[in-house]
Point group: C2
Chain length 121, copies 2
Amino acid sequence: MADPQWDPYDRNCPTRRVLDRIGDRWTVLVVGTLDDGPMRFGEITRRIDGISQKMLTQTLRGLERDGLVKRTLYPQVPPRVEYELTEAGRTLREPLKALEDWATTHIGGVLEAREQYDQAV
Amino acid sequence: MADPQWDPYDRNCPTRRVLDRIGDRWTVLVVGTLDDGPMRFGEITRRIDGISQKMLTQTLRGLERDGLVKRTLYPQVPPRVEYELTEAGRTLREPLKALEDWATTHIGGVLEAREQYDQAV
DNA sequence: CCGTATCCGGTCTGATACTG
DNA sequence: CAGTATCAGACCGGATACGG
């Protein structure tokens, strides 16, 4: 399947859909964190600065729904839940890394340009 | 500037900032469109399906502010305005392309997983 | 032609409180 | 520990009307 000659300016094209997916506040950070290996809910919470329980749950559910994260519940008391990237989830890391690299390299210039622009007003 | 050992889970890290920048609905599409070369406002509008004047203006202003797009006004009547990617703007295309490629390759699986997940409910 | 100004509804998020 | 429920504010984006 795939490749029905997508028009990139069509709102249903894959890129748009993927951006809607990862463009939110937390998804990229969660994927990046899980790249370190399987991890418990609490561990992820501690690693990501400022995320709330609600948003972490919501983000993980979304990723699980899209087959990018696998959720494993160990029926214990207290419960233990582990999350890990699926095969598909791991492949997402590469393009994300490219973006991170760009960010690190260019953020200085961007911030500088921003300051200049704001002063010119 | 740059490289004060960013904590990727800090909300001020470059990646986060860049994602806040390009994570919106239109920025990526505008950058992709301008990659074809300098272009007038109306031309961009026609190329991008569904964008409103307001959002195009807003997106272009943001990109201009960050030094990723250059705006040139030709003082004519009626006015003629051209937009083009700056050097920095062009470098952004590469990581964006990586994301597009991932999207094209994996969107099928994602959509499929989503369907299964939703049925399981 | 290329915008700006305004209103307004939907979504995203965070804070808080509660549960198996 | 790992969630769910609820509420309210911020923000995004679209529609519309008007201006240089």
